[in-house]
Symmetry: C2
Subunit: 219 residues, 2 copies
């Protein structure tokens, strides 16, 4: 029996991008179903009744929620040649630590950059740069966060990279000036087929940002 | 060579309790080092430079941070007879989903219950009960969240149980009235040796709560 894989997603989501990339890396064919988050579909409400959020990965009818959990699930179900997570427990724990860091320390400040005003927005920008610097220190001179291998932390972070231009233009700063190694990492990542296929153009996101502010009622 | 295991912890932490229980379940001997969070030790700052938080598990000199990641690490390094996580990828993903839910949906409201005032405190109590009901629905008629086996989700949640009495007395409500099955689950869990050894008395926490409010500058 072939696998039936469906992804409920929303194109600008950096969380959804993770799951798209993970599936592409493993050459898993999937049915992408774009969701309207302002008018949630019955399938989304049924498949993620607790959070009612995308991305939802549906594998043979069963839902898996939360993008970092989806990356691990995909890695376990389709191990293939390139595991996302190292086999050593300590290295695995370190990768998960940085995945958690991205969710809990990087996402929040990005929301402030485009969703807050005045001082709060400035604080968000400052915090965002500080968090990127911490990530850059972890990256160091490695090719990828996973060393020579594109893996879990790279997948967790690369979606944010597609939003950098939007933040920069909106708040008039340069991530590259602050974190040149991180930008070099991003440029390496976007050469991968899985990433090219999964990330929207930065320009499209830059144009989308004012629309998002409007949708959410900020402007 | 024997393993050197050190736990940097703080006795009332429901996150630290997880790691204590996980180590006890695997019969791993460890050196418990109580930390003063208002005057952080050099070992804490060195071992968790990013978050500067407890619990930190130090295994043969190497730090593992974040309690849910520690539970997984312990399960991988000391697999033994009773794995915390099921071997089936889908069931594993479900367990991780609930672990994430506890961190992101249960902890926040508990902070509001004891740390906020007026309307915000009331909202915290309401949200807390709602989240516990969601967990109770997931538990259903099972012995443990892990089915017949005490596992990852049980370890993730049971520390909160030791705080219930403090919340109840402080805000004058009864978790048992709202979620009787969850309380029955808690009573089953605290019969386990690993849990008895790791959870402080509820009474001690109830007495500690006003001190905590004072330390944090709420009263």
């Amino acid at each position: 029996m072939g696998d039936e894989v469906i992804l409920l997603d929303y194109w600008p989501s950096m969380f959804g991008m993770r799951t798209r990339i993970a599936l592409e890396e493993k050459n898993v064919k999937f049915d992408y179903k774009e969701q309207d988050l302002w008018n949630k579909s019955s399938i989304l409400l049924e498949m993620n009744p607790v959070h009612k959020k995308i991305p939802v990965l549906i594998h043979n009818g069963k839902p898996i929620c939360e993008s970092l959990i989806q990356i691990e699930y995909i890695d376990e179900v389709w191990p293939g040649k390139n595991p996302f997570l190292p086999s050593d427990p300590y290295q695995r724990a370190q990768a998960k630590f940085w995945g958690d860091f991205i969710d809990n320390k990087v996402y929040g400040p990005t929301r402030l950059i485009w969703g807050a005003k005045g001082e709060e927005q400035e604080a968000g920008k400052k915090e965002f740069i500080e968090m990127l610097r911490t990530l850059e220190a972890e990256l160091g001179d490695k090719v990828y966060f996973g060393g020579e291998t594109f893996g879990y932390v790279d997948i967790a972070l690369i979606g944010f990279y597609s939003w950098f231009e939007a933040y920069e233009k909106f708040r008039n700063f340069s991530v590259e000036e602050e974190c040149p190694k991180l930008i070099a990492w991003g440029k390496r990542c976007v050469k991968r087929e899985s990433v090219v296929k999964s990330l929207p153009d930065s320009e499209k996101i830059t144009k989308f940002l004012p629309q998002l502010r409007e949708k959410i009622g900020i402007e």
